[in-house]
């Protein structure tokens, strides 16, 4: 039994005290300067990696090397998944890079369906790279554009801090069901990256809340720890096993942790006095 479990959500929220957040607002923007700068570096590193990995992925596709392209699909996506809350700020790119078939009326057959998941569909369902050249080129152009645009972006603090919860919402809404990577079943890669991205944000702002709210911090860390432990069971030398191998019990545990993290991290902005 974990001590935090006895603490009700309402009690936690009251503990901050209505009003105190306002007074905090100014100090907090100052205090956030450093975590935000660190986060910007984290994002920049990831988009750089994304461009690099996508270049290799696209090369494999254009070489017609189906097996190699398949093996690069999961790992290439991870740097995108880690920084999704920021990447999503450019909604035009997010759509062309990461939209899923069900975002389109005609699903897989829709002419507008492009990006990672279109490539995933052709690689796994058709077992070919035929017809993918143009889509692969577009993907590389899009992630390169993303890298550039993100470097020019001033990060809105509430988007960054809120991003910790947004990543959990993503997992809770579509990843836990295995819908995201439905052809390749590489969902665990995405999962792991989403958690890493969320945890990164939490750790950066943790020094600002740990004193006022040690129990909250302990609870969140414990839940991240449980997730790591569960995912560790499915690690292989170079990544993760197929999502289909996840047992029902582990899926339930992950669901509970994700939902709890989503609830708790949804208070992070408020705890920091951000709007």
């Amino acid at each position: 039994m974990h001590a935090w479990k006895a603490l009700s959500v309402a009690a936690l929220a009251f503990a901050i005290g209505v009003g105190s957040a306002n007074a905090k607002q100014e100090d907090i923007t100052l205090e956030l300067v450093e975590p935000l700068a660190d986060y910007k570096i984290y994002v920049a590193e990831n988009t750089k990696q994304l461009v690099k990995d996508t270049t290799a992925f696209v090369a494999a596709i254009k070489d017609g090397d189906v097996e190699k392209a398949k093996s690069l699909f999961g790992p290439t996506r991870t740097s995108y998944e880690k920084i999704e809350p920021i990447a999503e700020l450019f909604s035009d790119l997010d759509v062309s890079i990461d939209a899923r078939a069900d975002d389109y009326e005609k699903a897989e057959q829709d002419p507008d369906f492009t990006g990672f998941h279109k490539i995933e569909y052709v690689l796994w369902e058709k077992d070919t790279t035929d017809g993918l050249d143009e889509i692969a080129d577009k993907l590389l152009a899009d992630v390169t554009d993303l890298d550039k645009r993100i470097n020019d972006l001033t990060f809105p603090p509430e988007k960054v801090v809120g991003g910790a919860a947004v990543l959990m919402e993503e997992v809770a809404a579509t990843k836990i069901s295995g819908e995201e990577d439905r052809y390749s079943h590489t969902d665990l890669w995405d999962f792991d990256a989403n958690f890493a991205g969320s945890k990164k944000i939490f750790i950066l702002v943790k020094p600002l809340i740990v004193e006022d709210d040690p129990e909250f911090v302990a609870k969140v860390e414990e839940n991240f720890g449980d997730v790591d432990e569960t995912l560790a069971k499915y690690k292989t030398d170079d990544g993760f096993v197929s999502y289909e191998e996840l047992t029902d019990e582990d899926r339930t545990v992950l669901s509970a942790r994700v939902n709890t993290l989503a609830e708790d991290l949804s208070t992070l902005r408020g705890k920091l006095g951000l709007d």
Binding site: M1, K5, A6, S8, V9, A10, A13, F14, I16, G17, V18, G19, A21, N223, E249, T252, V253, S255, A256, R257, N259, T260, A262, E263, S266, T267, R269, G270, K271, G273, L274, D275
Partner: protein
């Protein structure tokens, strides 16, 4: 604040419009010939009062609830509410997977769940939080929660016990995983579960609010596995006070021959686990709950001759009276006088379900179902059915025995059980200091193996 707008003339339904459309329908009916002679012109009998009341106000004004939102079902008691409580119009069964690694976790779950249910069913103000935080409540019922006859009934599935060595020994002795009957086509995505909540209220929004509240407050313990909403058609109050049972989606009164739920002695025998049942001590005052999601093939049913429909059930469709006589649904059939089933066929639903012999007395069960409507199927047929919920002290003599007798009944051509599960309803929380599941937690603690594990 919104200004109160005086009603404009144009917003009232004009009487002429109504007459025109009424005439039109009469013409249409007249064309069919057969129906027109006996049919009331639409609106003729009821028009006056309803049109006046229905015509007022702004389009988006909230519909007005009756005084029933104030109805409050006591939470504390020997038994949980929601079983012998008169069934309100709406209900949900939600089944969860439970995360609880040890008795402490399970106790914390039960305590938190008890606190949520006590608040939700008794009503009160929603706490106000710092506006920079997500609000404490979904807000769908506004800042004050009215009780609205809400009950939330907690029950446990076999898997909760089976998966945990420290619980296994304490499983109620008849609690099993639901197995497939011959006519079933079970879908594992809507079957079984560790813990079920039956939420019932006058309004479906009240049930939904309660479900969202519990899920929001308890994500670390409960992961939703499946759920099914249902409702029953409401009727006008009758002058005599007794207005009969609601109808199911096959158009028949459902619940007519239920045991008398206001007779405490009868309920002790049929519904509540007592010392006579040989169950573990902690289970006294609980009950077995069988939930079945049973699809109805309504299009096909509606194309079946009335006489055949009535023979399938053994009751008249309009009155609900048994086929061997009587005016109302509460008349009692006398099968001894009809041994060959000339009036009530031997394979009719009610005769198989309850042959009314001395021996079948021990198979009585308390049914508390809702109808459900889940949209439509790929074939363009309506996806409707019965969210069948039944309570009994003895699952084998109750649901299992009755269903076994029903296997192969003519009704099967029109129904298909697809989901549900068996659960054991926890005894009630007796007072403010008590919590649902306390007797089970105490039993775990006094198990010899558990004491050894804890070094007691």
């Amino acid at each position: 604040m919104r200004e109160e707008k005086p009603m404009k003339k144009s917003q009232q339904a004009t009487p002429q419009d109504e007459t025109v459309s009424a005439n039109r329908r009469q013409v249409l009916l007249g064309g069919i010939g057969l129906a027109a002679g006996t049919a009331l012109a639409p609106g003729q009998a009821f028009a006056k009062s309803t049109e006046e009341e229905a015509g007022q106000g702004q389009v988006a004004e909230a519909p007005i609830a009756g005084k029933t939102v104030k109805q409050r079902v006591p939470f504390h008691g020997e038994h949980q509410a929601g079983i012998v409580t008169p069934r309100p119009a709406n209900g949900i069964v939600a089944s969860f997977n439970v995360i609880a690694d040890d008795p402490e976790d399970l106790e914390a779950l039960f305590r938190e769940l008890t606190a949520r249910i006590a608040f939700l069913t008794q009503g009160g103000e929603v706490p106000e939080l710092n506006p920079k935080l997500p609000p404490a409540d979904s807000g769908i019922l506004g800042p004050v929660i009215e009780p609205d006859k809400l009950t939330v009934t907690v029950s446990l599935g076999a898997s909760l016990f089976d998966k945990r060595p420290w619980l296994r020994e304490l499983k109620p002795k008849q609690l099993i995983r639901m197995a497939e009957f011959p006519n079933d086509a079970l879908d594992s995505e809507i079957c079984h579960g560790d813990l079920a909540l039956q939420l019932c209220a006058n309004l479906q929004d009240t049930c939904i609010h309660a479900l969202r509240d519990i899920m929001k407050n308890m994500p670390e313990y409960l992961v939703l596995h499946w759920m099914q909403e249902g409702n029953v058609p409401v009727v006008q109050a009758s002058a005599g006070g007794e207005h009969g049972t609601a109808r199911n989606f096959l158009g028949f009164h459902d619940g007519s021959a239920n045991p008398n739920s206001t007779d405490a002695k009868e309920m002790d025998r049929i519904v509540w686990v007592t010392e006579d049942n040989g169950e573990p001590d902690w289970a006294m005052g609980g009950s077995y709950q069988a939930v079945r999601i049973i699809r109805n093939f309504v299009e096909r049913w509606d194309r079946t001759p009335l006489g055949e429909q009535e023979l399938i059930f053994g009751r008249k469709k309009d009155s609900g009276a048994p086929l061997d006589g009587g005016k109302t649904e509460f008349a009692v059939p006398d099968y001894a006088k009809d041994p060959d089933g000339k009036k009530t066929p031997l394979d009719s639903h009610i005769r198989l379900a309850n042959p009314r012999t001395a021996k079948s007395q021990k198979n009585l069960i308390l049914r508390r179902p809702f109808n459900y409507s889940n949209g439509f199927t790929k074939s363009g047929q309506l996806d409707q059915g019965l969210l069948f919920i039944v309570y009994q002290a003895d699952l084998m003599e109750g649901f299992l025995a009755v269903q076994s007798r029903l296997n192969g009944e003519p009704l099967e051509e029109y129904i298909k059980p697809i989901g549900g599960g068996y659960f054991f309803v926890l005894p009630g929380a007796r007072d403010r200091d008590d919590y649902l599941g306390r007797t089970l937690i105490e039993a775990i603690r006094s198990e010899p193996s558990q004491q050894a594990a804890e070094g007691l």
